[in-house]
Symmetry: C2
Subunit: 228 residues, 2 copies
């Protein structure tokens, strides 16, 4: 037959066109700029045609962001190979901030605007899977750091540690985005600034006396000590 298949494929194609048009608008001008009518005009369909492929505007944007956000996940997968949890935390923080600054509109939508709890069943991202879910990744790393005795003894709760670190990086990112043009904040260069945020966070959670150098030798030493 191959007939139904063709139908499905064609429908998938239109869906793709919608997403591409929406992405272009979204990346260039943000959520507000994406209107059903503009998308429709871009793909030369009527506005209502979009509703045959997506429940509503939110569904379009969610589909868009979900797929784009998987790009962050692929970066995290590489970082997962870093053995030392502290080093991994640093790398993840840097990657997270970098991604956010490169995709400000995505970031804004995902982490800076309140949602009706984004139904997980229609999302591409597997919650809790540390290869797809950034929070799960940090949680895992925080847990390892605790296990290996690297953190201050009062910080014995991985969830809490993850939330602290996430807060610091997210705060930096979101302030930078929202207040980048305010005359009353004299922003320091991005690279130096985010490095400082990460360094202060790491110092703040590390057990005192632990050398915070980013060297492999230090890492292995720490791991040995943790085993003992």
């Amino acid at each position: 037959m191959g007939l139904k298949e063709r139908r499905v494929r064609e429908k998938e194609e239109v869906r793709g066109k919608i997403l591409d048009a929406a992405r272009e608008l979204f990346v260039a001008e943000g959520y507000e700029a994406v209107t059903m009518r503009k998308i429709a005009q871009a793909i030369e369909y009527s506005p209502t045609a979009i509703y045959l492929h997506f429940r509503d505007k939110e569904a379009v944007i969610n589909a868009l962001c979900d797929t784009d956000f998987l790009k962050l996940a692929t970066r995290f997968r590489k970082i997962a190979e870093v053995a030392d949890p502290i080093e991994r935390l640093r790398a993840a923080g840097l990657a997270y901030a970098d991604f956010a600054m490169r995709h400000p509109n995505h970031y804004r939508l995902m982490f800076m605007t309140p949602h009706p709890p984004h139904s997980p069943e229609e999302s591409v991202i597997e919650v809790g899977n540390r290869d797809q879910d950034a929070y799960a990744f940090v949680l895992w790393t925080a847990g390892e750091a605790i296990e290996q005795g690297l953190l201050r003894p009062e910080l014995d709760d991985a969830e809490l540690v993850a939330q602290i670190v996430w807060s610091a990086i997210h705060g930096w990112v979101s302030l930078r985005m929202t207040k980048c043009n305010e005359p009353w904040v004299d922003w320091r260069p991005q690279k130096r600034s985010i490095a400082a945020v990460i360094e202060v966070s790491v110092r703040g959670i590390l057990r005192p006396g632990t050398p915070a150098v980013s060297a492999v030798s230090a890492t292995t030493k720490r791991q040995k000590r943790a085993k003992a």
Copy 2:
């Protein structure tokens, strides 16, 4: 005459009514819920009447937030009396977070939504005045901490330190607001959580070896050492 005065007073009254009606909507349901038509209905005027008192919708909301935000300033004025900069930083962080959680819609508007650079001449708040501008307050405190030699030697830039600390607190606040109902984050109790964020930030910026106890004796010791 007293005639023009009455006219002015009457106009001021209507202005006040508009702001009160807008505040009610804003506090209860957020920015989106405030529509010119709803405000008008609440005060029993036509929607266009509002434009005789405010340039546009944004002006209404800005006037609203400006006055409400001065309440935070009064709390900061009390905290300014704390002598030890580190202790002051802690207190300010706590007050900031508390204010944000109590006035989420104000906070969201002021710090979580991008603005066309909010023209300072039509604002009530004096930028740079640490009694009115929260950022100026933190900047001043960070500067004192550096002067007194309390911070890590590499953190010699008050602006940078202020931005780091602000990031951490703001990050915590804004994540909590945006993602409070997400099933994939197991938020720790608010009090414990914000205390931990502040503590980690302080530890992270403090010169190693400096006791981070919140005791007056420690404070005076530190100040003596700084003079030496």
